[in-house]
Structure formats: C-alpha cells, structure tokens
Symmetry: C2
Subunit: 338 residues, 2 copies
DNA sequence: TATCAACACGAAAACGTTTTCGTCGCGTTT
DNA sequence: AAACGCGACGAAAACGTTTTCGTGTTGATA
C-alpha cells in the first residue's frame, strides 16, 4: 500500500505548520484567503483525505458499530444486518460484523476484541451455547463498563440494556390461533430446546392458543429439536401422532416437516396445515408456499441501530433501557388452507 | 462508555514511566522481576487491554479487512462472508462489511471511507451498476495506490488484481450438458442482462453445450431478466416457446420458473426439467428440490481471504495477480430426471 | 581508586489529527 | 509616541501505544 499524503507532508512541502494546514482545510477564519487557497489546491491535487485512525484516536470515537451474530448464512440475521447497515450508513457509521458461531468462547473473545477501542457500541444476538450455560458475565461486564449495547431477538432479561425483540409469545399465539380457526383439531409444534428463549416464548403462545380453544396440552405433540442431532429424524417422530397441523418455529423445521409429510403421502393443506416462522425465501418459493409469521428483520435492524446510536451519542441522558417489541404478522400462503 | 484504563494511568499510579509499563507488560528483560510483577498485577487487577486504535496508528496496520458486497440478504454472498470470516479470524483479522446495494455511487463512497486508514485491504464483488456503466476508475485508483485488493465472482478483466471466480462458462456448460444428456431437446435459459459477466459466461457455456449437441442457438429461448422490472412476467414469456428444460442462472429464477410451470400444469421433471445455480436453501427445501450448480461460496470466501492476507503481509513479494478458479459441480435433485 | 559493564529505568519521538494558546508584526487610535 | 487591537500564523499538547536511545546507579575489575 502506497503511503498516503498527510497533513504533515503538506505542511512541509508548503513551508507552513501542520496547524495551518489543518485549519486551512477546515476553512478556518484564522487563515488568510490566499494561504487557504494554496493549501486547498495542493491537498486537492494530491487527493488528501484525513486518516480515519488518527481522527478516531483524537476524537475518542470510531463511528463504527460492532455486530455479533450467531451466524450469517441465515435469512433472518442477514436481513437484520441489512436494516442495521441502512440506518448506520444514514447516520454516518460503519459496521463491523463478527460471528460467534453459537459458541460462547468466541462470543467472549469477539466482545473483548471489539470493545478495545474498535467500536463505539455493540449490537448482539446471543449465542445458543451462552444461553444454555447461562454464563452471562461478559455481558454484565459490558453493562458495568457502560458500553452502549443493544440486544436483539435472542436476549436475556438479566442483562439491563436496550432490546429489540419480536413479540414471540404473541406470534406463537397468532400462528396457532390461525390453525385453530381454520379448523385444525390436533396441532403439533416443532420448537427449539428450552434454553432458547425465542422458542420458549413461541411455545408459550402456542399453549395459550391451545388452551383457549378448550383443549389440553399434549406433550407428545411438542418436539424440542436438538440441532446437534439429526433434525429430520427428530421431526419425523411427530408424525407418529395423529395430527392435522404443525406449527414450526422456523423455516427449516417447516420445510422439513413438509418434506416428511409428502413422503408419507399427506396432502397439504388438505390433510395437514403447516405454519412456519421467518419469512425467508424458502417459505416464499417452496411449493406449497408456506404460511409464516413474518418477523420484520429489516425493521428490527433499523430500530436496533437507532437505539444504539442514540445511546452512543446521548451519553448524558442516562435513560433507562428500552425494549422495542416488533409485532409480527401472519402471511397466509398455500400450506394452510384459508 | 466508561474511560478505560491506559498505560499512562498505570504509570502514574505506580510512579513509573509509560515506557516501563509497556515493557513490563511485554515481559521485557530490561525491567526487574519485582517491577514487572507489580505492574502486571496492577494491570491484571484493573483488566488492562491495550487500545486497538493506538496500536493500529502506531503499527500502521489495522488487522481489518474490508468487504464490499452488492447485497447481503443473499445466500451466496452471505456464504462467502462466512468463508472470509473464518480465514480472517484464524489469521488474526477482523472484517468490516459494507454494501454497495448494487449502486456505483455507494460503492465509490464506501471504498473511499474504508481506504482512509480503516482497513488493510479490500475484498469486493462489483455492483451491477458499475459493471453496466463500465466506470471503473475507483478500482484503477486502488491499483494505482497499491491497495491490496481481491475481487470475487463479479470481476472485470481490466482491473489487475487477485481474483476468485467460479468457472462460470464451465458451470453453464455442465448444467446444460446435463439437460442434454437426460434427453431434453429444447432447452431455455434464464439469465441476467449482458453486462453482468457471470450471466454472460454461463450463457456462453450454455451455447457451447447446445452447439455441441448439434443444435442451433434459438434466441427465443434466451431470456435476459431485467431485475428492475417484474421477474415473474419476464420469465413467463419463455413458456410461450416449446421447451422441455430450463437452465436458470440463479435460485430465484429457477424457483420462479418452477412456480410458473406448476401453474401451467406442467409436471416436473417429467415434462420440464429445471437446473438452477447457487446451492441455497430454496433449491434444497423446495419441492421438487432443484438440481443446481453448487458454487462453493464458502471456499471462495476462504480463498479470497487467503489471497488478500498474503498480499497484505508480503508487501515485498510483488507477485503478479493470481486468479483462482473455483470449479463448480452439479448437485442433481428432483427437478431434473436422471 | 579509577574504569567499565550491567542493570533498571526514563525521555522522547513517532503514528496523523485537532485545538488551545501563544506571539509577532502592523495599522489604528488617543 | 505609546497603547491597543487584530490578522495570520506556529508551538505544543492531546489521544494510547511502542521503541530507540540515553542515563544514573551499582558492583566488580584492573
């Protein structure tokens, strides 16, 4: 990389001091018109651009926000990034994206690296392993050190910071209620292990809707998928039960369920209705297209970024942490008959 | 954000100089054992971590690589990021991800921001608008200034830098050949506008395979999709022709074609075989699952990162630009009969 | 006792900015 | 003629490191 032109060089070449150059470039009234012209012309000719690092060090702010996600090859998460980036960009920030790969160790490491001056604040969705272990010290430390932090989607109530979440309970309720409304009598649910809060919440919504319809909760209709094992086989078990509907807490589970149903010769939606979660490409393009709870990931990203940047820039206003609940809605498609 | 502890503070508190603290923490032999112990204990107690910004400024390197992509809510691109991140992480780098949104203006702006000291090098996939305009000055400037640069997937031959590309011609050939082999007589292709090189290359492979099979190229069987208009309608036109197979240069086009085929009552693969590109979730989970050219995005990301970091770290070895061609292979699924 | 090496540490520069606070010279005012 | 003000610029500190080059003290050696 060729060395870039600096204020120092300009100063030396033009026989003035660095202060003069700096002031001239910022159009200070302290500098005479002629000198300003001379300096600007030179700077312009050599395409001078101030060095970011130096500015960041001097201003004690980076104008960068760190994002830590469990993974990225994932429609919802990449959509959120997209929303964050839009707002960040509008408000003059760049984003630095890192992944925890669902591992606590990497999450901790990444937080450490980023908070050593590389970013002004953090937007995080917690890794599964961390949620399972309930080892949240690295987050408590962030709070302790007053690092601007926004958690989204995968959050934890003991971490006192701004949050952006989906109304997962409500969404689970809506999805299940829809199935009840179209006449389904025996509704199964495919969800995550209990430590993943989003899955737990959606399950709660499911249970409320079931009870409301006057039925009891049947444990056999609840599948908690352990992603370390074979997903397909775990879901298949559900088909041993007599069911006429499935609510899956994500796209993959829904698509897998549909595949199994087809293999079993079940007609969708005539014999089995399916509702998924996350309005990704699978739901849209698979056939039958899948009724889903749309999560508005882009909006979540936007809100998270706004919350974070507000927090960064209004350090004075020690406002209490906010929680933004993004309401989800059902997009009804072919997999559940109207 | 609470002020972090610095070497200066430690020095003042312990009544020594900053040099001593710095040396002690790096275990220099110049410092006595006792002093080292004292300083380390103090630093450890207060959880001292060196400030990245200061290090970057001093070392004149950031250990950050910039990534500029046309978009992120896209299976292939997010997979590439994933590969880049893996290697970057292993080799001690962080990634800063930005998007051009396919717009030349934003691409230029982003390049400018990132190269003002924020990153040590750049991995870019060129925006469609840039390719259309053929305005590549911002890339020529990078080369001129010897900024380490790796282009992937969407490249341009006039930019002299390392590249990682798919053998798009070969992939297009393989896909079409497969259709020919299974007995298809009239094969349509759904591709991009001509300025997108990847689409053009795949078309070239298609044409070669068609000619090889002893047929003429029929212009009516070639659809160049303009993404600013309605994709569905443009693809629909192809169905006016008598076809028994379609090669689509991406997942969305393939899925859309399948949808239209189903609406028209065509059986897949009995009456129409379909081959897509990019082995994303749609291809895998849609039904029928779609035969696709798998692009190995993860590998591409890994290679791109390795090329870039090599370039960054071996500034001395003025090696000629390399081009890595990642060969793709066909994953045969239900949408094309064997 | 004078010399020298080794030891343990500090001063200062450097990375590239911005900003506060001089300071010099010149013209105007009383 | 002395005082004052102002225009135009420079010196220096600051952000947090690392590293080169001193320098003062101690103990051993000649």
């Amino acid at each position: 990389m060729k060395p870039k032109i600096t204020i120092k060089i300009i100063a030396k070449e033009l026989g003035v001091s660095t202060s003069t150059v700096s002031k001239a470039l910022r159009d200070s009234h302290e500098i005479s018109i002629e000198t300003k012209e001379r300096i600007k012309a030179y700077a312009n000719y050599y395409n001078y651009r101030p060095n970011n690092l130096a500015l960041q060090l001097r201003n004690q702010k980076t104008k960068v926000i760190g994002i830590i996600l469990p993974k990225i090859v994932h429609h919802f998460f990449s959509t959120v990034i997209s929303g964050i980036e839009k707002v960040a960009n509008e408000r003059g920030y760049n984003i630095m994206v890192c992944f925890s790969n669902e591992q606590q160790e990497k999450e901790i490491e990444t937080i450490n690296v980023l908070t050593n001056g590389s970013v002004d604040g953090l937007i995080v969705s917690i890794a599964k392993e961390t949620l399972r272990n309930k080892e949240l010290n690295h987050f408590y430390n962030l709070i302790e050190n007053e690092v601007p932090l926004v958690l989204f989607d995968r959050v934890h109530s003991s971490i006192e910071c701004d949050r952006v979440i989906v109304d997962d309970v409500g969404a689970g309720y809506k999805a299940t209620k829809h199935l009840v409304n179209i006449g389904c009598k025996s509704i199964g649910i495919i969800t995550t292990p209990e430590h993943v809060t989003v899955g737990l919440d959606r399950l709660q919504g499911y249970e409320r809707a079931i009870k409301e319809s006057g039925k009891k909760i049947n444990k056999n209709l609840i599948v908690n998928v352990d992603e370390d094992k074979d997903i397909y086989e775990q879901i298949k078990v559900l088909f041993n039960e007599k069911i006429d509907a499935i609510f899956a807490v994500n796209e993959i589970y829904a698509a897998t369920a549909i595949r199994i149903a087809k293999e079993k010769g079940l007609k969708i939606p005539q014999e089995l209705s399916v509702v998924g979660f996350t309005d990704g490409l699978i739901s849209k393009y698979s056939s039958p297209s899948i009724t889903t709870v749309v999560q508005h990931g882009f909006t979540m990203g936007e809100q998270a970024a706004d919350l974070l940047i507000d927090r960064i820039e209004n350090d004075k206003t020690e406002k209490a942490p906010q929680t933004k609940v993004i309401s989800s809605n059902l997009k009804i498609r072919e997999s559940s008959k109207a």
